[in-house]
């Protein structure tokens, strides 16, 4: 089965082709069958490949296949690489992707563009799988750009609404900035590593080249990370993700929480052997991650739109992953990526169920008390809530704890940022729960009467994800509990052993104490949240009034958008207008003047074409005389 690896991205691509070409004429049931079926097959194949890979001896778990030639002169092929890391990624992408496809059936049933939606979604799957399976940087980049395109298409899915279309454009443009950096990094890698784009080869040659020119290594690492900042919404390029929530909610769950936005984390981990050779760059990764985690968590505290809270939460959690990578804990980063895929997909889909029930309402100020009306959704949602808050024994607890532990060993400063972030996460998530499900209902009367539970297809997906969010952490129990590395860590060891060894400080941390502290942070955050927004709902307003400036700053999303407007957009538009004026007046003016001149001379010259043979003969004679005079005279 493992040689059919290439089929994994191709299957959803076929689904895209079918739905994209003739989907408009197919009944909805067929469209959904094609879309979900192709992803289900891809999932089954992924599982089979995973099992095949697991059957191999531990240090031979690398399988690369080349399907066809791509760019001959650059020795580039359509080459796919299956190793423990990409196997985990394809399982997440196809598994969570399948659940979200199923969920979408119910969520999008009444939408006119049903087939278009599923065609885009399938294309996204194909591209995301190309991204994680690509064995060379350019192929990875094909997937990278492809998911960017799908993200654009799906954010702007309701393209008749100006907000959606604008958000799609914003996402695309901001990502282009990152992509430019990625391309530069890729090209620098090409020249540095003697003309190869193959990831394995680059990583193999890295130690030797790093010894010769450490600066170049740092440059490559930082340029590639620039791309990751765009795709994974890190400071300073995170501004597109909150706006991206304009797309359908399942899209937010799949693309803007579980899979695409983690591509940057995946890429950094994939290039881990290179990053550990550039400690400066890795430090930047860690600091940017930690800063983003804190800043986004702070913004999430003050948002009223349920999806915006989750969006900032995603940014914050992605920051966590980068922080882990920056601390050299690549395995922990991927573990958190996995558990985050479970609980954040669950939270988004749960919020989707709420929004669905309220007929499109996303403002939490118009919610409250929904527990009674939507009990099933509430319990599913609660599973995601405890997981993201890091309540002990949930999946989020284990992955976050692993990161904090490793951060402590590397740099206690990072740990401090992490633990504060964990506290804030628990708090704003509890706030979200409080405003949505508890307290008295603020739902307007006209919407209140048709609140209904989500259909079965949606509930199934929620249920599976809830189980994974709660129990998924047992894949990665800490080594200190087991006496040997957990399943997850063990599985990824062939990939990350080398790079993580480079980063080992030799220190041993007080793991037990750290674990208790992070449990306290989670539970403390929850209590804080309960106190502020459930028991004393009057308090937050008073606190906000007391610290008006800080509150406005956080509420205004740190005014990053406005900052960009000021330092980049305004000068840019001014330059555009100046160029436009130059074009209209100077360039067009010149061209028009020349054109007029030509036309005038045309009319003048036309006068010579009198139609009289005698004058033509005269011109001939004069011409011949001139020719002869020129030659002889």
């Amino acid at each position: 089965m493992i040689d059919l690896l290439w089929l994994i991205p191709v299957l959803p691509l076929l689904g895209f082709a079918v739905n994209g070409l003739i989907g408009a004429r197919l009944p909805r049931s067929v469209v959904s069958a094609v879309a979900c079926g192709s992803v289900a097959l891809a999932f089954a194949l992924s599982v089979a490949c995973f099992l095949d890979l697991a059957a191999l001896p531990e240090h031979h778990r690398v399988h690369a296949i080349t399907v066809a030639e791509w760019i001959g002169p650059m020795n580039l092929g359509w080459s796919f690489l299956l190793d423990p890391l990409s196997s985990v990624m394809i399982l997440i992408v196809t598994g969570v992707g399948l659940l979200i496809h199923i969920y979408s059936i119910g969520y999008m049933w009444d939408d006119d563009g049903y087939w278009r939606y599923f065609a885009y979604l399938n294309l996204f799957m194909a591209m995301m799988l190309t991204l994680v399976l690509g064995a060379s940087l350019p192929l990875l980049f094909v997937g990278w750009e492809g998911v960017g395109l799908c993200s654009y298409l799906l954010i702007g899915y309701w393209y008749t609404k100006i907000d959606c279309a604008d958000a799609g454009r914003k996402a695309f443009i901001v990502n282009r900035i990152g992509d430019a950096s990625f391309i530069l990094g890729m090209l620098l890698a090409w020249t540095t590593f003697g003309g190869t784009f193959d990831i394995a080869e680059i990583l193999a040659r890295a130690p030797e080249r790093a010894a010769a020119s450490p600066g170049t290594m740092t440059a490559i690492a930082l340029l590639l990370f620039g791309g990751a900042c765009g795709k994974s919404a890190q400071i300073p390029l995170f501004i597109w993700l909150p706006d991206a929530m304009a797309g359908p909610t399942p899209v937010s769950a799949l693309i803007h929480a579980a899979t695409m936005v983690t591509a940057g984390v995946y890429m950094v981990c994939r290039m881990a052997p290179l990053y550990v050779l550039a400690p400066g760059a890795l430090e930047v990764v860690g600091v940017i991650g930690a800063t983003t985690a804190l800043a986004a968590a702070a913004i999430a505290m003050a948002q009223d739109d349920i999806k915006k809270v989750l969006a900032y939460s995603t940014i914050s959690q992605l920051g966590y992953m980068f922080m882990a990578a920056g601390a050299g804990a690549f395995g922990a980063a991927i573990f958190h990526l996995t558990t985050h895929a479970f609980f954040k997909a669950l939270l988004f889909l749960g919020s989707g169920a709420v929004i669905h029930a309220l007929g499109g309402e996303q403002d939490m100020r118009a919610m409250g008390g929904l527990k009674a009306r939507l009990p099933r959704t509430f319990w599913f949602f609660a599973a995601g809530w405890v997981a993201i808050a890091g309540v002990p024994l949930t999946s989020g607890f284990f992955s976050k704890d692993e990161i904090l532990h490793r951060a402590w060993l590397q740099n206690p400063g990072l740990w401090l940022a992490g633990i504060v972030g964990a506290l804030m996460t628990a708090t704003y998530m509890t706030r979200l729960m409080g405003l949505t499900f508890w307290g008295r209902s603020r739902v307007p009367a006209d919407k209140a009467h048709h609140i209904h539970e989500a259909p079965t297809s949606m509930a199934v997906a929620l249920g599976v994800l809830a189980v994974l969010s709660l129990a998924g952490g047992f894949m990665g129990l800490p080594a200190s509990w087991l006496g040997h590395p957990g399943l997850f860590e063990h599985w990824l060891a062939p990939v990350f052993e080398g790079p993580e060894l480079v980063m080992t400080t030799g220190r041993v941390g007080p793991e037990g104490i750290l674990m208790i502290l992070s449990s306290l942070a989670a539970i403390g955050g929850i209590f804080l949240g309960l106190h502020l927004w459930v028991r004393r709902p009057d308090l937050p307003g008073r606190i906000a009034a007391r610290m008006a400036t800080l509150y406005r700053f956080v509420k205004g999303k740190l005014f990053v958008d406005e900052l960009y407007e000021l330092i980049a957009l305004r000068p840019f538009y001014a330059a555009c207008r100046a160029f436009a004026r130059f074009d209209e007046r100077a360039v067009d003016g010149t061209v028009n003047a020349v054109g007029m001149g030509m036309e005038t001379s045309g009319h003048v010259l036309k006068l010579f074409h009198s139609g009289f043979v005698r004058s033509y003969a005269l011109f001939y004679l004069v011409g011949a005389a001139a020719v002869v005079w020129y030659l002889v005279g």
């Binding site: 054109g595 030509m598 036309e599 001379s601 045309g602 009319h603 010259l605 036309k606 010579f608 074409h609 139609g611 043979v613 004058s615 033509y616 003969a617 011109f619 001939y620 004069v622 011409g623 011949a624 001139a626 020719v627 002869v628 020129y630 030659l631 002889v632």
Partner: protein
């Protein structure tokens, strides 16, 4: 020298095959006029068939013509240059016959003599390109010119056609006088009519009377050929003649006569005496100036035309200017560029005129397809015709992926390689001006609302075939130019 006995040089009949076959074909076609009237419908097809044997013979000679095979004492040279031009002329004649059939039917001019004259003219063109002797060259020129005088006035009941024919004849005769006088002077100066042997006879250096006579002769002879290609200031006849002639004849002249005249010019200037002789710099400078003036004069006036045929006529003047650039670049690349450009040019012009003919039919009568404004809305009414027309216009403009682009590219590159930056720049600027009126046709077809709604008319098969073949050829040359360029390279040098 003159001893009273005439020595008859050995004749290689195989080398003369193409001429003999085509002449025979022309005679057969002409004789069909005395047959029953029912035959007239088939003369076009017979004429097409008559073009096959010369083409086969030419291709057969191609394999053997690795060097210069000559006959009649060296007066006729059948080298690859000749054969290449023969194929251009035969293709031009074939396409002309193809698009003439429906056109003549429409104009009620289905006379077999028409096709005979086309084939005779083609024979003359072939003879011009094959000549290394001034007399043969002149013979070819006359065999070409006389049928054309008749063809231009073929629609003899129309005043405009008669006027055109008369003008062309008068000025042509006028010009021929210059040519023959120039040739005589060159003979007087060098003592030979063989162009390649002229070097030996030039004798003394600059300043001598022989030298002056030679230059005088060269200038006058050249004036005659510049008249045929319609270079400035010998171009005034062209728009009047092209507009009055039947549309297929105009197409035939634009592509065929121009190619024939260029083959003659190349035959003369590549003779050693002129190619790299004492006054090479003089004629290069002269033709450079004329090239720049020709391009500009043609383009500027084409810009203000409302008649499509007249616009194409003036633009053909500009194209002659571009081709002169390649001649004065005096390089292998430039000569290959001329051959390539002429090939592409024949396709895009015959194609464009075929579309004009189709539009004539669609609008019910000769001349109706002439007004550019009448093409408004054609993109919707005749999508296939409009698409083909767009291809021809884009190729004439020199837009990439068309044969016109590759040809222009080679010509301008040859100029740059020879250090003629100024001329290349003038050529490029002129292409920009030309874009204005070529693209205007496309703009009109697709973006302007039609004033009236004439009925849709089915394009006759022959016309459609001609258009399709031309469009495919233009695209083929644009997409896969390498093969033809390879063939065109090293023809003369």
């Amino acid at each position: 020298m003159m001893t009273g006995t005439l020595q008859i040089p050995p004749i290689d009949w195989a080398l003369l095959g193409p001429f003999i076959q085509l002449t025979a074909g022309a005679i057969v076609v002409t004789l069909m006029a005395v047959g029953p009237k029912a035959w007239r419908r088939y003369t076009g097809y017979v004429a097409l068939l008559a073009l096959v044997p010369p083409a086969v013979a030419t291709l057969g000679l191609w394999g053997g013509a690795s060097g210069a095979a000559s006959t009649l004492g060296g007066m006729i040279v059948m080298d690859r240059f000749t054969l290449c031009f023969h194929l251009i002329f035969l293709a031009t004649a074939a396409l002309t016959v193809l698009i003439s059939m429906p056109a003549l039917e429409e104009m009620h001019l289905e006379y077999p003599e028409y096709y005979g004259l086309v084939l005779f003219a083609a024979t003359g063109m072939m003879l011009m390109s094959a000549s290394s002797n001034m007399l043969i060259l002149f013979l070819g020129l006359e065999i070409l010119s006389l049928p054309l005088y008749v063809l231009v006035g073929f629609a003899r009941r129309q005043d405009r056609a008669l006027e055109s024919s008369m003008k062309y004849f008068l000025l042509g005769a006028f010009s021929t006088g210059f040519t023959i006088y120039g040739m005589a002077l060159m003979y007087g100066a060098t003592g030979t009519l063989e162009m390649t042997r002229m070097a030996a006879g030039s004798g003394e250096g600059a300043g001598s009377w022989r030298f002056t006579m030679l230059m005088l002769g060269f200038g006058l002879a050249m004036a005659g050929f510049l008249f045929k290609i319609a270079a400035f200031p010998f171009h005034y006849w062209l728009p009047d003649v092209y507009q009055g002639a039947p549309t297929p004849v105009t197409a035939f002249m634009i592509a065929g006569t121009k190619a024939a005249a260029f083959s003659a010019i190349l035959r003369i200037v590549t003779a050693p005496l002129f190619w790299d002789g004492p006054f090479t710099a003089d004629w290069v400078r002269l033709l450079s100036v004329l090239s720049a003036l020709t391009m500009t004069a043609g383009n500027v006036v084409a810009l203000v035309q409302h008649s499509l045929k007249r616009m194409l006529a003036y633009s053909s003047i500009a194209h002659a200017g571009y081709l002169l650039i390649a001649v004065v670049s005096r390089s292998e690349e430039g000569l290959a560029g001329v051959v390539f450009y002429l090939t592409a040019y024949l396709l895009m012009n015959l194609g464009a005129f075929a579309v004009v003919l189709a539009m004539d039919r669609a609008r019910g009568g000769e001349g109706e397809g002439d007004d550019i404004a009448a093409y408004a809305g054609m993109g919707r009414r005749h999508p296939a015709l409009a698409a083909a027309m767009s291809i021809f216009m884009l190729s004439l403009t020199g837009v990439p992926l068309t044969g016109g682009f590759v040809g222009k590219f080679y010509i301008f590159r040859a100029a740059v390689d020879s250090g003629m930056y100024g001329l290349a720049a003038v050529g490029l600027l002129n292409s920009v001006v030309a874009a204005a009126y070529y693209l205007n046709v496309i703009l009109t077809m697709y973006m302007k609302e039609p004033v009236s709604q004439p009925p849709r008319v089915v394009t006759p098969v022959a016309l459609g075939l001609g258009i399709a073949v031309s469009a495919a050829g233009v695209l083929y040359l644009g997409l896969f130019p390498a093969r033809i360029l390879e063939l065109a390279r090293g023809l003369l040098l």
